[in-house]
């Protein structure tokens, strides 16, 4: 009898993927709740990692007819001291001992691991980018070159040797080009043979040689070139401006809050646009464009002039990011301090130059830990922006004190439209 041994290891894995997706779809509301809950206690970097979430089992159970209670009889192994007729005291909890094997699946929460993508998808699922309309067909990516068969013309660098040779071979066979071995055999015979045979051979060799000349080893018509096609692939691209006040009044805690917000925004944009650029602008009483490290951790001190940052942003937009080609997002974080005299300049810059070209401008006012936002008087910047908003400027603004508020605020800002009008707090 033959025994078949099959190696299945190379078969495509994750046969359960579809079932898993169905499960997630079914458990979506539950999982989403769990994801949000677990993301509040996480660092932002970890949000991207995916990980384990617990889902309460009751929404997802599969009911069966089951019984409980009643008189129970069981046979157990390992008797040590009991004799017939003994009465054993009942354990405190009734029915403490397991009955049969395999009935003990009573986990009340259900833990499982989500992949990074699943996690981010669920996390950002009900969010939407505002004003997504401006999709400019701008940058053509160079990776849009792809192989597209063979062609009869092209640059010598692209000659496909194998294709060429195989065509040449086919042609030589088809036209019966004499093979070199045949010729060599005749020439060898020529060395010692009779005279009349010699003439015969000479004629034959000449004929063969002529034929070989007529039918070349490789003919230009055999040559094939690899053909490439460029596939222009338009991408919508976005640039994200991070503006932050780094003056002395900003504490580490405030910067941390701001950072969390920026990272979320980045993750979010990254999901929507293939190409996202980030520009970091920090400012005290003057603004500068810096790299990420300096932005968050570089020391700086000085007064506060918000208009400097707005001016810098405006300049950068003008020089590098044509609004026609780029979706521009800006998020500004500050503790709200601004020198009083700056208000006029800042509001003019915003209304005239910046807001008209940005898709979205969010202002995040970060406060002290344990600070209660509603008890504090509105800051200079808040009052300023509030005024602009009242005049119809498309500004979103929120106050944040605690780390755990970042996610709700973020969700709130990007709430899918139609569900809720974007409003200030």
């Amino acid at each position: 009898m033959a025994i078949h041994i099959v190696d299945r290891r190379l078969n495509p894995g994750s046969k359960s993927l579809e079932n898993r997706q169905r499960f997630l779809r079914r458990a979506k509301a539950l999982v989403q709740g769990a994801v949000k809950k677990s993301s509040q206690s996480r660092d932002i970097k970890d949000v991207l990692e995916g990980g384990e979430v617990s889902v309460p089992i009751d929404g997802m159970d599969e009911p069966r007819f089951r019984r409980e209670g009643g008189t129970r009889d069981m046979v157990l192994p390992g008797n040590k001291k009991f004799v017939e007729g003994d009465i054993l005291p009942r354990p405190n909890q009734s029915g403490g001992k397991g009955r049969g094997a395999g009935e003990g699946d009573s986990e009340d929460t259900f833990r499982f691991v989500l992949s990074r993508d699943e996690f981010v998808d669920l996390f950002l699922d009900d969010l939407e980018l505002p004003d997504l309309a401006k999709r400019k067909l701008a940058e053509v990516e160079s990776e849009g070159i792809r192989r597209a068969g063979y062609t009869t013309s092209g640059s010598p660098a692209n000659i496909s040797v194998s294709r060429t040779v195989s065509r040449a071979l086919a042609r030589r066979v088809a036209l019966r080009r004499p093979r070199r071995e045949v010729l060599e055999a005749l020439e060898a015979e020529l060395l010692d043979c009779s005279e009349e045979r010699r003439a015969e051979l000479m004629a034959e060799i000449e004929a063969l040689k002529a034929k070989m000349r007529r039918i070349p080893f490789i003919d230009p018509i055999d040559i094939r070139y690899r053909r490439f096609e460029t596939v222009p692939k338009p991408v919508a691209q976005a640039v994200m401006f991070c503006l932050m006040d780094v003056s002395g009044s900003m504490t580490e805690h405030m910067k941390d809050l701001a950072k969390r917000f920026y990272m979320l925004l980045y993750v979010f944009l990254k999901r929507r646009y293939r190409h996202v650029e980030i520009v970091f602008i920090r400012h005290t009483d003057r603004a500068e464009e810096v790299d990420e490290q300096t932005f968050f951790y570089g020391p700086a001190s000085g007064g506060t002039l918000v208009s400097s940052a707005l001016q810098a942003m405006h300049d950068i937009v003008r020089s590098r990011f044509r609004p026609a080609d780029w979706n521009i997002y800006a998020a500004q974080a500050s503790d709200g301090d601004n020198s009083y005299s700056d208000g006029e300049v800042a509001s003019r810059l915003l209304t005239d130059n910046i807001l008209p070209v940005t898709q979205f401008f969010a202002y995040l006012e970060v406060g002290q830990e344990n600070g209660l936002s509603y008890e504090m008087p509105n800051s200079a910047l808040w009052t300023l922006y509030e005024g602009l908003r009242a005049n119809g400027a498309p500004l979103s603004m929120r106050k944040v004190n605690e780390r755990s508020e970042i996610f709700p605020v973020f969700h709130d800002l990007f709430q899918r439209r139609g569900q809720q009008e974007r409003t200030g707090s």
Binding site: R9, N19, F23, F65, M74, P77, G100, G102, V113
Partner: protein, 514 residues
């Protein structure tokens, strides 16, 4: 018999030639010395991930898609990653050819163990046990599953994923009550089943004419009121196979829904023998692997080191913790089954006076394999234990019987122990633990109120005071009502007919309009 002295392998590494040698060696012993009769074998080497996949679809190589399998997969994957759970060394499928999955991580010794265990032990049991012969169709199962998968996918395409999911949810909830417990007139032929479904669908499509819908049906016929007995007879009541009953009589199910119920019912039926023969099946396989590998070692085809490795795994498999051990979770079917098989071997070849009293038919006959093969073919767990559990084995396991009556305030009674007076009671009680009649609640369709509101009436016959859990029951009845599309009631009554509890469920709209 050609015995080769040469070793099958050395160390832990193996390749496909090694596997082939192992299979050949095992087959020789299984066929020539143990007289086993097996389906052709197909051995598939898989990875841990593929093993997890197989777990979540009840071990079958292909299955229709449903979220609950995804849930099991997620759950098992999580516990596997955390190290809470090891994976099985193998999975074996009752099909012809008999497919055994081997994990690639296993050492050569483990592969030998698994091949002997699954490809010969389980395989022989599948092919010869009367329950499997009666209830399963090894030749057709893979084709049928393929059909089921295609059919469900096709339904999803035509009728929407949600509608199919609701139907499957409901069918799964009733799966444990979708089984025929008594052999019917004809045996199951899954291939014919598949063809029949295909033909019926083709016929429906070709015969479809939208005009029929517009033909006036005339005044409703005034159905004569059937008397109760006649009605029950026509509906085939009482009926304990709820899925069958729904498939045949539920008034407003679509044809595809009936077909899905039928698929779930067939699959439940296919697994029915496995739940009744856990101890025997594992006992057989463990006994066979033990015999084969010991023989290989005797023949000098296995090194002492490899044999010790085998013994260690084998001992772990047949370990039986005692009742007060934290690891205890009921009788280990491997341990109990293997011990009984070995005990039978002892009784047949080397009986004591006690054994001659208890087992006059087999004691001392000397033909171990003949007796065992006969037992493997003709018994299930319940009858096997109630006839072949010997007093010596009860003493060995130090078994005792507890009778826990909640009415009894003073405590739990030790009703019998492993002594002369207790053997028969112990054996009867243990056998009852494996009796499917007691494992699943006894629920039947007793009547349908055809004249009135078409209420479907079920009855749960309460045994020994164990009633249904309320939350689960409500949800299952909800599913049932959704399929029936009218009210469903369930009465719990004890043997004397006293009603203990009553449930009623009203259908939701989903299943009806789906």
């Amino acid at each position: 018999m050609t015995t080769t002295d040469q070793l099958l392998f050395e160390g832990a590494d193996w390749d496909f030639r090694t596997l082939q040698r192992i299979c050949d060696a095992c087959e020789q012993i299984a066929r020539d010395e143990l007289g086993l009769d097996v389906y052709p074998n197909q051995i598939e080497v898989i990875t841990a991930e593929q093993m997890l996949d197989a777990y979540s679809s009840v071990g079958m190589p292909l299955f229709y898609k449903h979220w609950s399998f995804g849930k099991h997969f997620a759950f098992q994957e999580a516990s596997y990653r955390k190290g809470l759970m090891g994976l099985a060394y193998e999975i074996v499928i009752n099909s012809s050819p008999c497919i055994s999955y081997l994990m690639e991580e296993n050492t050569a010794t483990m592969q030998t163990l698994v091949i002997a265990h699954a490809a010969f032990g389980h395989n022989h049991f599948f092919k010869n046990n009367y329950l499997f012969k009666q209830w399963t169709d090894a030749d057709g199962i893979l084709d049928y599953l393929e059909f089921a998968k295609r059919y469900v996918a096709h339904c999803e395409e035509r009728h929407g994923r949600l509608a199919v999911e609701h139907t499957l949810d409901a069918a799964h909830a009733l799966m444990s009550h979708g089984i025929d417990r008594y052999p019917g007139k004809k045996s199951l032929d899954l291939r014919a089943e598949e063809k029949r479904a295909g033909r019926r669908r083709a016929h429906e499509e070709s015969a479809f004419n939208d005009l029929w819908r517009t033909v006036p049906t005339g005044p409703a016929k005034s159905g004569a009121v059937l008397d109760v007995e006649r009605r029950r007879q026509m509906l085939g009541l009482p009926q304990e196979n709820l899925l069958y009953f729904l498939e045949k009589t539920a008034p407003r199910l679509k044809p595809w829904q009936r077909e899905i119920l039928r698929i779930v019912r067939h699959i439940a039926q296919y697994f029915y023998p496995q739940s009744q023969t856990k101890v025997m099946n594992e006992g057989t396989a463990t006994y066979v692997h033990y015999r084969i590998i010991s023989r290989l070692h005797e023949q000098g085809r296995l090194t002492d080191g490899n044999f010790l490795e085998f013994l260690q795994s084998h001992t772990n498999v047949v370990f039986q913790p005692e009742f007060d051990d934290p690891r205890y979770s009921g009788f280990n079917p491997y341990a109990l089954g293997f011990a009984m098989m070995q005990d039978i071997e002892r009784i047949v070849t080397n009986p004591e006076a006690e054994d001659r009293d208890w087992f006059p038919d087999i004691a001392g006959t000397g033909d171990t394999m003949g007796v065992l093969r006969d037992i493997w073919a003709n018994y299930r767990d319940e009858s096997f234990i109630s006839q072949f559990m010997s007093p010596r084995l009860m003493r060995h396991f130090r078994m005792f019987h507890l009778h826990d009556d909640p009415e009894e305030r003073s405590g739990i009674l030790v009703d019998a122990i492993h002594d002369e007076r207790g053997y028969r009671r112990l054996r009867r009680e243990l056998a009852r633990q494996y009796d499917v009649g007691f494992i699943d609640p006894n629920i039947e369709v007793v009547d349908v109120d055809l004249a009135g509101d078409r209420r479907l009436m079920l009855r749960h016959t309460v045994v020994k005071g164990a009633q249904l859990t309320e939350a689960d029951t409500k949800r299952v009845l909800q599913h049932l009502a959704d399929l029936w599309t009218y009210d469903v009631s369930l009465v719990e009554a004890d043997a004397s007919g006293t009603v203990l509890k009553e449930y009623v469920a009203n259908p939701r709209k989903i299943a009806a309009v789906a």
